[in-house]
Assembly symmetry: C2
Homo-oligomer: 365 residues x 2
Amino acid sequence: MNTEALAPGSFIGIIGGGQLGRMLAMAAARLGYRTIILEPDSNAPAAQVANTQIVADYDDPAALQQLADLCDVVTYEFENVPVKAVQWLESRLPVRPGSKALEVAQDRLMEKAMARELGAETALFSAVARRPDLDAAIRTTGLPAVLKTTRLGYDGKGQAKLVRPEDADTAYAAMQGKMAILESFVHFECEVSVIAARGLSGEVRAFEVSENVHRNHILHTSTVPSGLGPEAQSKALEIASAIAAHLDYVGVFAVEFFAVRDGDQHRLLVNEIAPRVHNSGHWTEAACAISQFEQHIRAISGLPLGNTERHSDCVMENLIGSEADKVADLAAEPNAVVHLYGKAEARPGRKMGHITRISARSQLP
Amino acid sequence: MNTEALAPGSFIGIIGGGQLGRMLAMAAARLGYRTIILEPDSNAPAAQVANTQIVADYDDPAALQQLADLCDVVTYEFENVPVKAVQWLESRLPVRPGSKALEVAQDRLMEKAMARELGAETALFSAVARRPDLDAAIRTTGLPAVLKTTRLGYDGKGQAKLVRPEDADTAYAAMQGKMAILESFVHFECEVSVIAARGLSGEVRAFEVSENVHRNHILHTSTVPSGLGPEAQSKALEIASAIAAHLDYVGVFAVEFFAVRDGDQHRLLVNEIAPRVHNSGHWTEAACAISQFEQHIRAISGLPLGNTERHSDCVMENLIGSEADKVADLAAEPNAVVHLYGKAEARPGRKMGHITRISARSQLP
């Protein structure tokens, strides 16, 4: 046995109790590990399938001490975990991925700057700390452009679009005084993402790139195979590998790209980096022998990374709000894998589950 | 939405806390259901991934009352649950499958008699209540034959082989005065099983037959596709359907057969019926979109049964005792799905997990 790997029965701590934590906890169980969830919501999706839940805030000192005492390794399922909490844990036990990835992912400016440093393309961007910065930023990015808070935005929250210079005041006001970044609007042909993992040994493996469609700023579908050619696929993996090595990353992460048509090829612009399993990788559960969730658990446990090949083509579709109520209809579809998250209340816009429709594997383009 | 189906968030009670309960609990979670395990062992594999465990004996009246109060439907993961406990629960809420299947499966004589009544072949058999019955039974079955207690035997326990008439005394003594059945020894070419499900609507769907190899009376491997031709496959499904209809069964069950060579065909003799998900169906988790565990949850929840097609060929191998310690080596295999059960102690002969090696789907023979 690989002496670096966690022994069966070891405890994995997961900070965050949402659906990603839930699917990680089940993947950990399948590999014989036990899980402890740190999450203030006592009816959290992840807690329903974990060994234990510590019901406390993510930065509660006593809770962090308990997590450190009970666990062999800690991970997190969302990128807005307080960096200080992770740093405190890191001084006591392995946290994978660590606080460095979290810091970068929490700040859109750092994220984009890192991508550029590593030789990847991004949209044009400029920092906006005060109102006059915005006029200068517009000269850098041109219009249309999107103004975003640098921190804590997701699913379209904390964003404002600028089409004409006159939109600047309203957009700036929408940031509510928070540090922001102006990004040029990218005329992309499609959005794609790569879900990759870096193991303890430094090895990187990626699942095939998926093509993602958003509705109301929320992921609607991920389709595999995507419309990308092999060169763009290789480029996506190359960028992901550079990011992972730079961050000394251990675990699964996602890189979201805008794919811009360039003759008969695509250029890829890094849009976002997520230091965690990702909604656009849920298809791996239905179309691959090893899912992104198991891949993450393998990486952080020191097990060898799994094969990322897929046995089927697929389209994953998110079930939002009341869409999950029609579970019996969805389950009646002959080639669909339905997955619900155990959330009590189906609020509008809330991710309640997903369905992956699979079909026989086609050739790569 | 199908009004018969349990709503997401409903509670499913599972009697028994072993690995089958564990895999059922995870399948239930993926469909948005919550689970409550009734199991006296507080460190049970199923409890690690369930919402709640009631730590009590299977026939504890207060525990059964609690289960009835909390659950929307109850199922069981092994066939030695006390029939009276299930009957008591049945008077209060749906129990699927019910006590009738349990009664038959707990008694080898009833099981074999039912198979014969339904037109299926079995080995020759005869009841042995007292020592003189054994001599008469030998005249019915011929020798060699196998003497088995009618109840509570599994994995080769409570069995004795008779090769010559002189073996009768020793074999009879091994039954320790328990009611027994003598079965003629079948010269089979292979052992196969079918995992089928019957839904609330009465619809029956079966996974493809697997070919099973035992070692020391414990399942070693299940291989799909098996060596059976299409006629024998159809026959297996026909027998399974007849059994399910006869028992008014709801849920997944297994029928194990001896396959005897008959020219270029196989004759199938019913060996055992298991009123539950079955070790020889673990391969479905890796090679089908819908596993036997999800199929069982769908059936007992009133959801439509899932597609039983497989996307891959496969060989499932049990990991017994210390075999599960080499998890890092197993996880390094490129096309293997590893599944461990979270058992603390790797005793010899104990099922600790399984590994399913998948490969591209071949044509049926």
